[in-house]
């Protein structure tokens, strides 16, 4: 477990040593801030749910783009530069590598989410706030990010080309995100499957302040599945 932490810290450090972390943080903060405060100025009331609710213009959609950008380098870059061989020769298991890289990326996403706590704090200062709902929303965004990052990591682990990793991860995530709104166009027998598989539907529930175990389980299952795939892809390196 200590090696997982060492690896995660190294990945997080690598983000902050490059422009990636700062771009992610600035873009995410600005857009989510604008979403919250535009309603404040236009309607005279702050609607924090905007922060969590998935939509065509929402922080969640921004994460669909930012997460693959965060994860694309994780394994692909190391495979290309050859340092993956050095990593594989160290006494660390493939699982430790996968978890370390995943947690490093999740660390960056968590920092981005944590910085937006400034918005609910501003709102409480202006008036009363349903903190329960806010916490459910943040839990939702965190789980949502974890699933996206795990998908991105799996894509990065399958290639040595970062661009390919980005496009694959973005494509998969976008389909899983938008299928929620497309289910009405799907055949009746397919619609429930789409509804269940959609990344956005489960976030919608959590954004309403309802912590349903089914939604939590969905994200955790998706994350675990993608991490398992990443581990398999890494093990294939030795084949």
């Amino acid at each position: 477990m200590r090696k997982v932490a060492v690896l995660a810290r190294r990945e997080l450090r690598a983000y902050f040593d490059s422009p990636v972390a700062y771009i992610v943080l600035v873009v995410f903060l600005l857009l989510s801030g604008w979403l919250v405060f535009s309603t404040l100025f236009l309607l005279g009331e702050a609607d924090l749910r905007q922060l969590f609710t998935p939509g065509l213009l929402s922080p969640a959609l921004l994460l669909v783009i930012l997460a693959p950008a965060i994860t694309m380098r994780l394994v692909a870059e190391e495979r290309k530069s050859g340092s993956l061989e050095l990593l594989c020769s160290l006494p660390v298991s493939d699982w430790q590598v996968v978890l370390g890289k995943f947690l490093g990326a999740l660390g960056l996403a968590t920092v981005a989410l944590a910085l937006t706590l400034a918005y609910p704090l501003t709102v409480t200062w202006l008036g009363p706030l349903d903190w329960g709902g806010v916490l459910a929303g943040y839990l939702g965004l965190l789980l949502f990010s974890a699933a996206l990052l795990a998908i991105g990591l799996a894509c990065s682990a399958l290639t040595s080309n970062q661009i390919v990793a980005f496009i694959a991860a973005f494509g998969i995530s976008a389909v899983l995100y938008f299928v929620y709104w497309l289910q009405f166009f799907l055949p009746e027998w397919l619609a429930p499957a789409a509804d269940y598989l959609a990344l956005s539907g489960h976030l919608d529930n959590l954004a309403r302040g309802v912590i349903d175990l089914r939604d939590v389980t969905y994200y955790l299952t998706l994350t675990a599945g993608a991490l398992l795939l990443s581990e398999r892809a890494l093990a294939r390196q030795h084949a």
């Binding site: 190294r10 690598a14 530069s81 050859g82 340092s83 050095l86 160290l90 006494p91």
Partner: protein
Amino acid sequence: MATPASGPVLETRGLTKRFGGTLAVNGVSFQVQRGEILGFLGPNGAGKTTTLRMATGTLRPSAGEVRVAGLDVSAAPLETRRRIGYLPENAPLYDDMQVLDFLRLAAALREVPARGRRAAISAMVSRCGLAEVLGKDIRQLSKGYRQRVGLAQAMIHDPDLLILDEPTSGLDPNQIAEIRTLIRELGREKTVILSTHILPEVQATCDRIVIIADGRLVADDTPAALAARGSGPVVRLVVRAQAGPPPGLDELRARLSAVPGVAAVLPADGEGEGSLGMRVQAAQGADPRPGLFAAVVAAGLVLLDLHRESATLEDTFRRLTLGADESEGGRHA
């Protein structure tokens, strides 16, 4: 790190690796004893890197097995990796990290106890001469410093076995000499496997040499024995055509090979424009010079030089590996 078994530090048996249709490594078996420096030689594409990858457990063999200190690498991958320090070809390190941070990372991942980490790092810094570059990004380092950082990360946990894949490739002669000295010092207390195609390097540093060609082990002996190995005296000759362009290499080799008492014919440097050099290995006890002279005359060529030399490691290397790799041109003695 203490080793319970007293047998060989590394042992491979029938090691084989297949990439799709190509057989990169084909039934390679050898042993490395404690305290030895083993030179791992072979032409480009012979399978050196592939063999070393299997030895370090980063690549799974298609057949055969590797044992490190008696432990099967595929059965106990983490335990065997703990005992090995590996420097892959071209020293692929984390370019975005500073040298000191990278060494800290290596120490942590290689399980140097937290208390001893500072001491281990400063020992590596002084041993590998890294004091001036500690705060630099690895990206900015010269190749020589990069290799030294690679060596430092490989030794930081005081491993039983050091595996270095072409540690001196791409370095200038001064840096080669420095790294070679470093490796020789290491070899006094450690077991080292060193792959290279620089022959003087192994002659100067190694106790024993394994040569592979085309994925197969073709020799396993001491440098001195290999130089003398199976070859009688060597005859060097230089010819040119009566007039016009130099004679065809392959045709001449074929003619000379047919001479009785000739064991092998290797291309060598000529003497300027239009001439062609050859090193001819004689069979044990034979003197093929009269036959060679006659063959050159019969081919209608002018003989510029014909004399005996003593056999070198390079002769043996080239004789053993030329069948697999004809691409190497002249002699670089």
